[in-house]
């Protein structure tokens, strides 16, 4: 199972990196979302995907899955949600004010 997850995460990383390297700002933001998806799945996978009950004591199971990475992922998800929403609004403001979403045209020097 870990192998398939690793392959899927690899695909997510590849897509993310490819999108981040593109010209359009929206594609870049999508790329960062793919990357964070990959990273969260990586956290889940790296703690071994053993079978076990959901980490609720009420389940009264013999074995539970590791609860720690789930907490880490939850933290990381809300952080990246906050950052992504900020990034989207920033892109919107930048589009309004600079009139372009092409990263090539956002280079510029200070002398304009």
């Amino acid at each position: 199972m870990e192998l398939y997850m690793s392959l899927a995460i690899g695909v997510l990383f590849t897509v993310g990196v490819y999108l981040v390297l593109s010209k359009s700002l929206l594609r870049i933001i999508l790329g960062t979302s793919f990357l964070t998806h990959g990273v969260h799945l990586l956290l889940l996978t790296m703690s071994r995907l053993k079978t076990g009950a959901a980490p609720l004591l009420g389940e009264k199971a013999d074995a539970y899955v590791d609860p720690l990475p789930q907490a880490l992922i939850l933290t990381s998800i809300v952080i990246s949600f906050g950052v992504t929403s900020f990034f989207f609004v920033l892109a919107y403001k930048a589009y309004q004010k600079l009139g372009t979403d092409d990263m090539e045209q956002l280079r510029g020097s200070d002398d304009e």
Partner: protein
């Protein structure tokens, strides 16, 4: 157990929450943030005193003993850095009273500033690698907001790049934590150190170490600094000053912490790479500092040079070099805040940021001129001032570790720092006076010399306060060294840290 450890986090956090409700009342905001800054510095000094008298202080959140809960650890290095952070934060705050402008002040400038301090102090004090990530994010998200606050075209453009690079490095950070957790099953730094030592650092742990190195190098501007010169040129002076003083230094602190506490078993690989990156950083930073003729760029490349310098101390990794790295880190935080404050004042006095368009400022601003001169000497490391002791220790440590090329580079980079700053001093303050004071630098949002002289005086005073610190740190180097050697001891012997955290 020592509950004071959480106060450097709690004070700015509560202040920030309070300030959110004081949106319209700028005077109230200034008073509240100023007073809380003083309180924060007092608490930081208390923590430093406790660490000095009673050894390493720990706080187990909710009483969960490590490795289960989140631990806060103040060893000497963290305590020194927290104190420096709060003092610099206070001076930058005083500076921003008269420079940031009411428009920004009424749009949550002060709360964001306090949140930045929360993130920085938290990063220094935490003893948990995932909590370090969270504190990094607190710091970075406030820095995103501060860098774009005001919304000029330049700020919007540069903050997109700054955000993108930091989102990527944060994703890498989480990936590195995931790998490390997969291999060791631990998150607490002291516990991690023990487990890495048991597992033997080689193969996969070396790869993880290199991944952490890339992450922190991105944050610190060590070799991977391509984002820094542009981003730090965008926001107004008060914000760049606090960025220059704190943000890259947090990355450096994380590098030092991780590579002296957790991954210290295979020097040839990890520290060898850090050494090469440090050398390249110093050389490339020096090229940048020489190449540009506008003040923000020159100052930004000066940050990069000093990052390389401190990383060289880490790469040599003996007692002298690590002492020197801590000493230089403290000096550099204060001196860079001072340099950026003075640089910003030069820009607003001259009405331009191009060296070729300014001159003769010494007649109208003699105090500013000589303060800038003293700062330049301090940063270059001229003996009575604060940069000297740190540089001396780092270079000596470099020779002991037989890193002759890097040591030569470090000394040469000091000359270039001196040259670039003195060139700036000569171009701005000497020569014929040019009256171009009416023009303001729109893109940086700099409010120019239309300000009342009272504002000018207060800004100069906040610079003077920092300059006094720089001079005192140079003259009282022997006294500061008493603290710094203790910090270096913990860094060279991780067992001290581990015992303090994991003791029952």
């Amino acid at each position: 157990m020592n509950n004071t450890l959480v106060l450097p986090l709690l004070i700015p956090l509560c202040t920030a929450v309070l300030l959110v409700f004081l949106k319209g009342r700028i005077m109230a905001q200034r008073w509240v943030s100023g007073l809380s800054g003083l309180l924060n510095a007092g608490v930081a000094a208390l923590i430093l005193y406790q660490v000095k008298t009673e050894g390493i202080q720990t706080l187990y959140m909710s009483g969960w003993v490590p490795p289960y809960g989140i631990t806060f650890v103040a060893d000497m290095m963290a305590a020194l850095l927290v104190l420096t952070t709060s003092v610099i934060g206070w001076f930058c705050l005083i500076f921003s009273f008269r420079s940031i402008g009411e428009e920004r002040e009424s749009h949550y400038y002060y709360p964001l500033f306090q949140f930045l301090l929360v993130g920085v102090s938290g990063s220094f004090l935490t003893g948990d690698i995932f909590n370090l990530f969270v504190c990094f994010e607190v710091m970075l998200i406030s820095s995103y907001a501060l860098i774009v606050l005001g919304g000029t075209k330049l700020q919007l453009r540069e903050s997109i790049k700054y955000m993108l690079i930091n989102i990527l490095s944060s994703a890498l950070f989480v990936a590195a934590v995931a790998y490390l957790y997969g291999v060791t099953g631990a998150l607490n730094m002291a516990d991690l150190s023990v487990r890495v030592a048991e597992a033997g650092q080689g193969g996969v742990l070396n790869v993880i170490a290199i991944l952490f190195m890339i992450v922190f190098a991105l944050k610190a501007g060590l070799f991977l600094f391509f984002w820094l010169p542009g981003s730090y040129g965008a926001p107004p002076t008060a914000i760049t000053a606090i960025f220059a003083a704190l943000l890259t230094k947090v990355g450096l602190y994380a590098l030092v912490r991780v590579f002296t506490l957790i991954f210290y078993h295979d020097h040839a690989v990890t520290h060898g790479w850090i050494g090469w990156m440090a050398g390249a950083t110093m050389a490339l930073g020096a090229f940048g500092a020489l190449a540009y003729k506008d003040i923000p760029r020159i100052l930004n490349y000066n940050i990069i040079i000093s990052v390389g310098f401190i990383a060289f101390g880490l790469a040599s990794a003996n007692k002298d070099a690590l002492d020197g790295a801590v000493f230089y880190l403290l000096h550099d935080m204060i001196a860079k805040a001072l340099l950026f404050i003075l640089g910003g004042m030069v820009i607003s006095a001259a009405g331009t940021n191009k060296l070729s368009e300014m001159g003769g400022l010494i007649r109208r601003h003699p105090v500013l001129g000589w303060m800038f001169f003293a700062t330049a000497l301090a940063i270059a490391g001229i003996p009575p001032l604060s940069g000297f002791a740190g540089k001396l220790l780092i270079v000596r440590g470099g020779f002991e570790a037989e890193q002759y090329v890097l040591a030569a580079l470090a000394v040469a980079s000091s000359f270039i720092v001196l040259y670039s700053l003195i060139r700036m001093f000569m171009a701005a303050f000497w020569g014929e006076e040019r009256t171009k004071a009416s023009a303001s630098v729109e893109d940086t949002g700099e409010t120019s010399s239309t300000h009342a002289s009272g504002g000018y005086r207060l800004r100069l005073l906040s610079g003077a306060g920092l300059l006094v610190l720089v001079i005192a740190m140079g003259i009282g180097a022997e006294w500061v060294l008493g603290f710094v050697t203790e910090a270096g001891e913990t860094l060279t012997q991780p067992a001290i840290y581990i015992d303090a955290v994991l003791k029952e």
